[in-house]
């Protein structure tokens, strides 16, 4: 199958194809790979083999709503076409997807909880959440495991649907993850998609948004916490091809420890016909110690001037010695001081995920990583 060539813009991917051969092996100089430590990808970007299969379990919805579908023409039309070699390989080596379908006009009160567990070795997998028109649903996808994993999540939000989604990556320290999370919005659809990365040695998440009709409203939220040399990379691409849509992108990251590296690339493209859109993207990073590095690159490409709003912002701040001194001089031990600052930094974004119990669970994972023990927990304000 020949690759689909699309008109070149600065930020839209040039090649879209399910065939890995249509993509060169990245060498690290390419714009989209220049921040990624390729040697730590465990070969995912070269010519990987599937040595294991992820275990995907779905809870909170009737089993009849969950199917395993093979990648035929029908499924291809419902998932995002790969824009890089890893994604193309992931479909070649796992040519099927777990598809969760929510019928039109249903409101699910229960959270749909999906667990994607990747065993040791290299594995590939795909998940599709198909939300019917006027349906309302909340889905939380948790990625765990030890291996190298590449895969995708496609959230297809039907006309006028309301989707709240969360993707939490909390794999083991040695794991490698390269995943795409694609949101496709129908007419007047409303999607809030949160991506949280905590684990892994290298975690690279490509969050993309596509509008198929006017009126779509996408809210992308991101939280990353990386320490002890982890590499967390978030690449966002919002493709405004339809008029009168809205996108809001907010990512917040905290970094701790020498050698830790986070990357945030926020690409927003407003195509010529996409008049009356409103877009804003922001990335804020908090560097907690020396030797940690945060790269942050917002890109806003406007092909029309007829917008309601378009903006971006990026800022990286340091938790500095003077702040630490101030808190410690009030009797607050160093670990708690860091925790207070990190909790304060993440509080709003966690609240905005709108997923029950998630803020508490994520904060307690981060507290642990910051070295806050149960003992000192007693001194902490509730």
């Amino acid at each position: 199958m020949s690759p689909v060539m699309v008109p070149a813009t600065d930020h839209a991917p040039v090649v879209r194809s399910f065939s890995p051969g249509d993509f060169e092996v990245p060498h690290g100089r390419e714009e989209e790979w220049r921040f990624t430590p390729l040697t730590r990808l465990q070969g995912l970007h070269e010519s990987p083999e599937a040595l294991a299969e992820p275990e995907i379990t779905v809870a909170g919805i009737d089993a009849s709503a969950v199917q395993r579908l093979v990648l035929d023409a029908g499924l291809r039309a419902r998932v995002s076409t790969p824009v890089d070699r890893i994604a193309a390989h992931s479909w070649q080596l796992a040519d099927h997807a777990t598809v969760i379908s929510i019928p039109a006009e249903t409101t699910l009160d229960d959270l749909i909880a999906v667990q994607v567990h990747t065993p040791a070795g290299t594995s590939f997998g795909h998940l599709v959440v198909e939300v019917g028109a006027f349906a309302t649903v909340t889905v939380l996808i948790t990625f765990t495991g030890a291996g190298a994993f590449a895969g995708s999540v496609d959230i297809n939000a039907g006309d006028h649907s309301h989707v709240t989604a969360g993707s939490v990556f909390e794999s083991d320290r040695q794991a490698v993850t390269a995943a795409r999370i694609h949101v496709r919005l129908g007419r007047d659809a409303n999607v809030r998609s949160s991506v949280i990365t905590l684990g892994g040695d290298l975690t690279r998440i490509h969050a993309t948004v596509e509008y198929t009709a006017p009126g779509g409203d996408a809210e992308l939220l991101g939280l990353f916490f990386a320490d002890a040399g982890q590499h967390h990379e978030h690449r966002v691409f919002v493709d405004h091809s339809q008029p009168h849509c809205r996108s809001s992108v907010t990512y917040k990251g905290a970094l701790d420890g020498a050698g830790t590296h986070t990357v945030w690339i926020g690409d927003v493209l407003v195509r010529a016909g996409a008049v009356g859109i409103d877009t804003y993207e922001v990335n804020r990073n908090l560097v907690l110690s020396d030797g940690a590095r945060a790269d942050s690159v917002p890109n806003l490409e406007l092909e029309t001037g007829e917008v309601v709003g378009a903006g971006h912002a990026s800022a990286t701040g340091r938790f500095d010695d003077e702040q630490l001194f101030y808190l410690r001089s009030r009797g607050i031990p160093e670990e708690i001081a860091r925790m207070l600052v990190v909790r304060g930094f993440f509080a709003d974004i966690l609240r905005r995920t709108n997923i029950p119990d998630l803020p508490t669970r994520i904060m307690s994972i981060i507290d642990d990583r910051l070295g806050v023990t149960d003992l000192v927990d007693e001194v902490i304000s509730a």
């Binding site: 001194f325 001089s329 009797g331 207070l340």
Partner: protein
Amino acid sequence: MSTLEIRNLHAAVETDAGPEPILRGVDLTVVGGQTHAVMGPNGSGKSTLAYVIAGHPKYKVTAGSITLDGVDVLEMTIDERARAGLFLAMQYPVEIPGVSVSNFLRTSVGAIRGEAPKLRLWLKEMKDAMAALSIDPTFAERNVNEGFSGGEKKRHEILQLELLKPKIAVLDETDSGLDVDALRVVSEGVNRFRESGDTGTLLITHYTRILRYITPDFVHVFVDGRIVESGGPELATQLEDEGYERFIALAQKEGATP
């Protein structure tokens, strides 16, 4: 009753050109119930003394000792010193983005008292303490020192002083940058603290103005990294009339003597 004892204290700050001595033999004893004013010209090292007592990592103690009730303070970490009963009201309080005043205060009070205060009692305690310093209740939800005016920062420092109830409080130029009304409110807070028990106060200031509101028991003149003269409140009056010149000359003469 607590005693803070500073003996022959020498301290230096690390610079690109090597360590630069700032404190050159400070001797001072503050006993609970007493208020000491340390006065000196700009650059005399009086703020350094405050920071060294609190344990700021920028300064290295090269000789001498600080003890609180006989326990070596220099061996303690910054937060251990606070939990042992020392408090520093800072000249330039630091902004802590993302941490609300109410969360900060409760965590701090919990750390100092050894247990988190009961929520309902705590809210009342905080509200009352804020009202006494004419601090708007909405401050509780603002981030620590973020966007505070100079006067608001100083009131927030004294609010902490009153809530944390230290054994010995060091107030580093709390009066600087305050207008007369704010100075009065802040001074009243300090006086409430002084009257609350056998607490010791070390008031570091450049101006005599604050001493009209807070009467010291002892006044020390601090020049060139040490105390060159000590006396009663009348020494402050003398300073107000004569300025620091005589003491600077005195320090230079002494420094020149081998």
